[in-house]
Amino acid sequence: MKRFVALCFAFAFFSVGSAFAEKAKAQNVPEIPFDTVPNLIKLPPNLYLGEAMGVATNSKGHFFVFTRSANTRLFEFDQNGNYVREIGEGNYGFEFAHSVRVDAEDNIWAVDEGTNMVIKFNPQGRVVMVIGHRPDAVAGMLPSNLGPAPPAAKYTLGRPTDVTWDAQGNIFVSDGYVNNRVVKYDKNGRFVTQVGSEKAGNGPEQMNLPHGIAADAKGNLYVADRSNHRLQVYDNDLKFKSSYENIGDSWTTCVSPGPHQYLFTSNSNPNGNGPGTWETSGEIYKMELDGTIVGKFGHAGKLAPGFQVVHMMDCRNPNEIYVAEIESWRVQKLLLKPQQAKVAAK
């Protein structure tokens, strides 16, 4: 049903878009100025990013981009944007990129919603663990299933969207477009528990398109509950803690490391760029973990430093944010100037 709704959404949002975003956004939020690094990525000739779905840095400052080009591909760049290498070229789990994250040991985790797989690469780029199973192609091309999703199973993902970890190495997967749940696996990939199910809903322990996930140092989980226009907070056992509802649609989220952690969430502009959408969406919020909004930055637009459907952020350094954008096929590195933040004049 959700996929049917998603299809309808494209028809509907032009006329009833305001009804979808009825939750009041925070007012008088200070605007954080920023610069974007021009021409960040230096690609070799004959290499192009497609839709930039995921971006993540490792501890050395290298960054990884998971992109939908003619094929889904994972690239590594150094801190200056120079091309380093391709990871996992042609592997069986790459079909339709959705997210990439780097864990505390610099392992690179790719989430693919075309094969329903989460793939862990070690820092050398070798596959060391996979979660999920690509459905066998032996059945051939199946008719598109627009009906309800089957019951969510422990080790079968339904178009998963994102992955994160707590300090113990437990793995949390936001899952996804078909299911509407967050699954907790232990560090060895064994199922522990879940919140939500295959069914969408707007109750405290339900979600409607959990689209991104991040953990804080205490192991709390922050889930971008995109189609519910909110950010959900769960504890380490996936029990409901809180809900932040004044930040527009939460497409993706990240939590910065260090003693004072910040939470970021993107109210990305919707696909299609209908009239008025650039005025009401596109900004990224910077928050305290308790939901207090510190400031916001960015706006919708085709050309940098505008944002064109931000799909993922990296905030290893809370003042140096990487954003991956779907509809500009671009990754930007933003240098924030939080000390200059101020509320825009009316």
Binding site: L7, F11, Y48, A70, G114, P143, S144, N273, P275
Partner: protein, 360 residues
């Protein structure tokens, strides 16, 4: 029954039942324009075979760009969703026809090439009918602006080509009349002097429109719908804008070219030139319009000629016919007329780009 340069309003008022005038075989008794052809001006590397030359365009240096349907358009089996890859490529040649490079190799959106155009700043714009994307490449071959979004996946079994929302989430959604940059089978792109972008959209769809964007890609407005009245379209195949900012729309299914101002207000229309399937406006002070009455790919026994018109719609002359030989045309899909008497034509049916020299 001459329709040449005539405002059709009166005709329609008098004979509303004859809206099928398009089926009446009236052709201008236009003088033939003598011409020569170089049927293979572009020298491809041995490993590349051109395929269907959907788009051809030159830049200010005379370099030639060809957007072509070649290789293997592929659907791969994902989970419950099939994904589309490949099938088209963009090549550059210098003015002598020497191969220079490929642009956008293995990029995300090159599925079914439809058109390529070069703007006054030598940016290269590609239009892809299946990914429903319009892409601006800077002269270095890097992406400068994207309009539209490729459908995430295809639907199995495929819906009819004219069904709304034919593709999956994120693309091809509402098609014509959409107040956005979601396209449904766009066919062509043009710009006015201010850099505003106009996209012909909705080919073969239940509806059709011209979509206007400002130069940074923000949606401004769209106009048009499916039909045969003024301001309505039936399979838009091309768009061109003159120095005054008038917008010429090749309304192929209605066998006419309609002219609008830059805000979409109807100005005039003209016919008697077959089905305008590829159009081109020359630059400079005395602009002329070329329009191809392209033959369908499955028939080389009728049509195929290209008309030369002034901007009032008066036919100056015509040349060529459908066929497979030199100086014959196989479903012309693109005309480049940067130089009035030296044209490049891209052919779907003959897998080639011809270079024509007209003798006036």
């Amino acid at each position: 029954m001459r329709m040449r340069g005539i405002e059709m309003k009166h005709f329609v008022q008098i004979l509303p039942g004859l809206l099928l005038f398009a089926a009446i075989p009236v052709q201008a008794q236009a003088p033939d324009i003598a011409f020569d052809s170089n049927p293979y001006p572009l020298k491809f590397p041995e490993t590349i075979i051109l395929g269907e030359a959907a788009g051809v365009a030159t830049n200010s240096k005379g370099d030639v760009f060809v957007y072509t349907r070649t290789g293997h358009p592929t659907i791969s089996i994902g989970t419950s969703r099939p994904f589309a890859h490949g099938g088209s490529r963009l090549f550059e040649f210098d003015k002598t026809g020497k191969y220079v490079r490929e642009i956008g190799r293995d990029s995300y959106s090159m599925l079914v090439a439809q058109q390529v155009r070069v703007d006054p700043q030598d940016n290269i714009w590609t239009v892809d009918q299946m990914s429903s994307m319009v892409i601006k490449w800077d002269p270095n071959g890097r992406i400068a602006l994207l309009l539209g979004r490729k459908a995430e996946s295809e639907v199995v079994p495929a819906r009819p080509l004219d069904a709304p929302g034919r593709a999956g989430r994120g693309g091809g959604a509402p098609g014509a009349g959409a107040q956005s940059d979601l396209f449904q089978r766009p066919t062509d792109v043009a710009w006015d002097a201010a850099g505003n972008i106009y996209v012909a959209d909705g080919y073969g769809s239940q509806d059709a429109r011209i979509a206007k964007f400002d130069k940074v890609g923000k949606f401004v407005k769209s106009w048009g719908s499916r039909g045969s009245e003024k301001g309505q379209f039936n399979s838009i195949r091309g768009i061109a804008i003159d120095a005054q900012g008038n917008v010429y729309v090749a309304d192929a299914g209605n066998k006419r070219i309609q002219v609008f101002d830059g805000d979409g207000n109807f100005k005039t229309q003209f016919g008697d030139i077959g089905s305008p399937s590829a159009i081109c406006l020359t630059p400079g002070a005395n602009q002329v319009l070329y329009s191809s009455n392209s033959n369908p790919p499955d028939d080389i026994d009728s049509g195929g000629e290209i008309y030369k018109l002034d901007l009032t719609g008066k036919v100056i002359g015509k040349f060529g016919r459908a066929g497979k030989q030199s100086k014959e045309f196989g479903t012309v899909n693109a005309i480049d007329c940067r130089r009035e008497n030296e044209l490049y034509v891209g052919e779907i049916g003959n897998w080639r780009v011809q270079k024509l020299t007209l003798h006036q």
